[in-house]
Structure formats: C-alpha cells, structure tokens
C-alpha cells in the first residue's frame, strides 16, 4: 500500500511538471498546446535511449530530455508562427500523434511498440522502498525547482510582456515587444519542462512505449491546469496533484459498484473527472488560484 502511495505521488509530480509546462505555454503565452504528450514522449525517449542504450550516466538523461524536447518545441513553434487558437491546437495535436506513430513504427530507432525496457532508475531499483522514496524526493525537487523558476518568470518584466503577447499580439508589437521571440522562448522552455517530466517518468517506471503517450494525458493536464488556475504556477501544481488524487480515488470508488464491468467503471471514472471540473469551474471560474496582477507601488 505504501509503495502504491509513493507511486501515485511520483506520478502526481510528473503531472505537476507537465501542468507547469502547459501553464507556461498556454496560461502565460496563450498558445493552445495540444502537443504536450508529444514533448513528454520526446523527453522520455531521449533520456531512455541515452541511458539504457548509450550507457550514459543516468543524471545526463534529464538534461538530454530537456534539450531534445526544447529543440522539438522550437521546431513546432517556428512552423506554426502564424497559427493561433484552434489552428495551433490542431497542428500541435498532430505533432503529438506524429511522435507517437514514429515511435510505434520506426522500430530501428525506437524499438517500435515494444518500447524500451530496462531503463536504469536514478537509484538502484533493488533497494525497494528506498528506490521509491528517493525517486519521489528527486521528483519533488524537480517540481519545486520548476515552480520557483516559473514564479520568477511570472513576476519578471519578461512574464509581463509575455502575458501582453497572450492578450493581443498586435498591441504588444506596437508596445515594442518582439512577439516571435517571446512566443518561441516560452514554447521552447515549456517543451523542455515537459521533456524533463518524460525523463523522470521513464527512469521511474523503467519502461517507455508509444501507448503511454496517448492524447488523453494532454487532456488530463488541461483539466488539471484549468481547475488549478492556468496562469499561476501554484495553481498548476495544485491542480495536478488534485487530479491524480481524484483519479486514484475514483479507482477505489468504482469498486463499490461491483455490478459494473471494468469498461463501465473506466467510463464512470472519466465522467467523474469531467463532473469534478464542471463543479470547480462553476464555483471558481478562473480556477482555484486565479491570475494575480502586479500591484502598483504605494507612494
């Protein structure tokens, strides 16, 4: 049971990283990024390939994951510069699917649908509880580091300019902001954070495969960020842990209804997640932690 709890917390931390990635690209930069699962996958694969196949030190994995995902982010961003809103959403969703399909079919490169197994952990897996606890500590450290980074970004003139780009690109340009630069920086950084989440996930579960990176993950993270508050780092983190808590809780709740089939239980879970979001948004339309403005200094 304790192992299960630790597992849920590590997964929650991975989601918290993904949520912060989405907060940056969607909440602050206004770029509807449905490709989150794709960047997550790029990070997971980059790290797994380097460490499991390349026998590089395991701590190099996350760095490679962030670099690979960040570069992928730049490529996606520059190929979608003129797109906004729903068009950008479609193209980024397509990107994530392309990543998944390439991972499934280019067997020589990715191991195909079998995925990559036997990925070394950050700690020795044989150490049992210490492995789980240690990985959780590393995951929490990553969440905290990204959280502090995001707070710093959000409170800076850079974050303010980025938010103005989100609201109206034309007015931001006339205000002297290089719109392309801000969007590219935010998108690449967000992709790198998603890549970090991927590395963490792969090294913890020891296994990456294409079917772990379904679009549903992106949708879950959108729910988490929407519920928590899409322009507050704390909102994204809280939303992610709440989501994982909620998902795991519904797993137990479904057991109270033994007359349902497994498929029906799974559907019921999705319905409960949706219902939860509706309840949160009707009570707190801007999420649990709404966007805060920079206060004017008092004279």
């Amino acid at each position: 049971m304790l192992t299960y709890l630790l597992f849920a917390l590590v997964v929650g931390s991975v989601y918290a990283l993904l949520a912060q990635s989405l907060m940056l690209s969607w909440g602050l930069a206004g770029l509807v990024n449905l490709g989150l699962a794709g960047f997550f996958a790029v990070g997971a694969y980059a790290s797994a390939m380097l460490v499991a196949w390349g026998h590089a030190p395991v701590l190099l994995g996350p760095l490679a994951a962030m670099a690979a995902a960040g570069v992928a982010g730049l490529v996606v961003c520059f190929s979608t510069l003129r797109l906004r809103d729903d068009y950008l959403a479609i193209v980024t969703l397509g990107f994530a699917e392309v990543v998944r399909l390439v991972a499934s079919n280019e067997v020589w490169l990715t191991g195909g649908t079998d995925g990559i197994s036997g990925i070394p952990g950050f700690l020795r897996r044989e150490s049992g509880m210490a492995f789980h606890l240690g990985t959780l500590a590393l995951a929490l450290l990553a969440v905290a580091a990204v959280y502090l980074l995001q707070r710093r970004l959000l409170r800076s003139p850079w974050g303010r300019a980025l938010r103005s780009v989100r609201e109206d690109e034309t007015v931001a340009a006339v205000a002297g902001k290089n719109v392309v630069r801000f969007k590219a920086q935010a998108f690449a950084l967000a992709a790198a954070i998603a890549g970090l989440a991927g590395a963490l996930y792969g090294h913890y579960t020891s296994y990456v495969a294409p079917d772990q990176f379904q679009p549903l993950i992106t949708i879950y993270i959108f729910l988490a960020v929407t519920a928590g508050g899409n322009a507050r780092p704390a909102g994204a983190v809280v939303g992610a842990y709440l989501l994982v808590g909620f998902l795991e809780a519904t797993r137990f709740a479904a057991e109270w209804l033994p007359e349902l089939s497994a498929l029906q239980r799974a559907s019921l879970r999705e319905m409960l997640v949706g219902l939860g979001l509706v309840v949160v948004l009707s009570l707190r339309p801007d999420g649990l932690l709404p966007e805060r403005s920079q206060k004017a200094p008092s004279r």
Partner: protein, 264 residues
C-alpha cells in the same frame, strides 16, 4: 525639449511620408499619399471615411508594408520595418477602438509599454539583473507620474476591463507616454467620449506638444481639430489633397468637394 536640429529652418521634419501606395486586391487604399509632420505641434490627419487615414497609420506604425513609397522617421527609413522596431525608435501609436490586454491591470498596461527594460530578456530574468530592477523602479515611478497626470491614479490596480470608455482613452495616452516617444500617432483619441472628456483629451494632446513631442491625430471631431491642430493634412481616396492650416483647408475647394462626396 525640442532638439536643436528640429528647430533649424531647412532641417527635415521628424516624419516624412512620400508617395505611399498600398492596394488590397483591386482596391487602392493608398494611392500615392504623402505628407510631412512638423515637430512640437499637433497635426491633424483628416478626410472623409475611406480616405485611407487608418491604413496610413498602419503603414506608419509597421502593421502594413506599403507596395511603394517611403517613410522616414527622424531621418531613417522605417517603411517595411517590423512594428516593435518602429516603436523602439520612438514612434508609437494608439488604436481607434481602445484595444488592450483584458487580463492585465491598469498599472501593468503602463509598465508593459515601458521602453528599454533589460528584464524582458529571458537570460536576465533567469539569472537576475540589477539593471532590470533599477529600470523597473524607474518605470514604476514614471507609471505613477503618468497616471497622476491623466488622473488615473485611483484605478491603477483595477483590471482594465473595469474602466469606462473615456478612461480607456486616457489610458491609451498614458501607455503611449510610457514608451518615452518622440512622436505619437493618435487614432481617434476622442471618439465616443463625452464632450467634457473630449476637451480634456484635447488639452492633454496640446500639453504633449508643448513638452516637445510631435503629435499626429486622426479625428472626426472637427471642433477638436480646429482647437488643437496648428496644421492639418487632408486625405481623400488614398491621396493627399492638401497640407496647411485648418482655415486654409476649410476654404480649399478640393477639400470641400471631397467632404461632400464629389470628385476628389
């Protein structure tokens, strides 16, 4: 604060547009328009609907690239430059409909227009920058002064969506001032506001010119134009009809025809 060069006779005016042409499909929105804007006064850009005034503003501010012609600002070619580069050279514009950033406060609107903030570089943000903090304090001070000048101080921490139409117009002026501009293009600064506020806005524009700024406005309120503009440029059908004083323009036959919808 006029620069010495600008007040010398024979020196080039701050803004010179020549023979600007721009078509949208078959429609010639600008058909060889050109004019000069003199420093330190308010110049009115007037003309009937569809004359190309707003299109001209879009060309001057870099939102549209002209098919032909040139724009020189402070002696440098700026036509075809990207908007943020033009803004950084000191030529800033406002919008006809008070456009803004709905989820930003009044104070943030002013701050985001602040020019030369090194803290907008990602690297400086990540590693911290004393220059950025100093500049932020300067800009905050300037924002408070601008807000006080426009009597927006009590509203600084309000979301911009809480402002009235007139207050949004005042904020447009304030934002432009935050860029420390050399010249401001105002697109209908008094449209849709009550007469008292229109008069107040006129006074603000006159004070900007007194402070040495060059001001060009598009406006349909002729009483306001007559009161604050020492010169007017009249456009019709994408061309410049005349440049001169308001009375001269009123007496001009071609201008009368254009306004009455005759042959321009």
């Amino acid at each position: 604060m006029r620069t010495a060069a600008a007040s010398l006779p024979g020196a080039e005016p701050p803004l010179v547009a020549e023979n600007i042409r721009l078509s949208f499909g078959g429609l010639k929105a600008l058909d060889g328009a050109g004019f000069q804007v003199r420093p330190g006064i308010v110049t009115g850009l007037i003309g009937p609907n569809g004359a190309g005034k707003t299109t001209m503003f879009n060309v001057l501010s870099g939102l549209l690239r002209p098919d032909a012609g040139s724009v020189r600002f402070l002696g440098r070619r700026i036509d075809g430059e990207r908007p943020h580069r033009i803004a950084r050279q000191g030529l800033v514009r406002t919008f006809q409909i008070a456009r803004g950033f709905p989820r930003l406060s009044v104070f943030e609107h002013l701050m985001v227009y602040g020019a030369r903030q090194p803290g907008e570089a990602l690297i400086a943000t990540l590693f911290g920058s004393a220059a950025a903090r100093r500049r932020e304090a300067e800009l905050a001070e300037r924002a408070l002064a601008v807000a006080a000048r426009l009597r927006l101080s009590p509203l600084l921490d309000h979301p911009v969506t809480a402002l009235s139409g007139g207050q949004k117009k005042l904020l447009e002026i304030g934002r432009a001032l935050m860029t420390e501009p050399r010249m401001i293009l105002f697109d209908e600064p008094a449209a849709g506001v009550n007469p008292t506020l229109a008069e107040e806005i006129g006074d603000h524009l006159l004070r900007l010119a007194e402070d040495g700024l060059t001001v060009l406005i598009v406006e349909h309120d002729m009483a306001l134009i007559e009161r604050i503009c020492q010169r007017v440029v009249v456009m019709a059908q994408g061309r410049t009809l005349m440049e001169g004083g308001f009375d001269e323009a009123r007496a001009d036959r071609a201008v009368q025809d254009a306004y009455l919808g005759g042959r321009a």
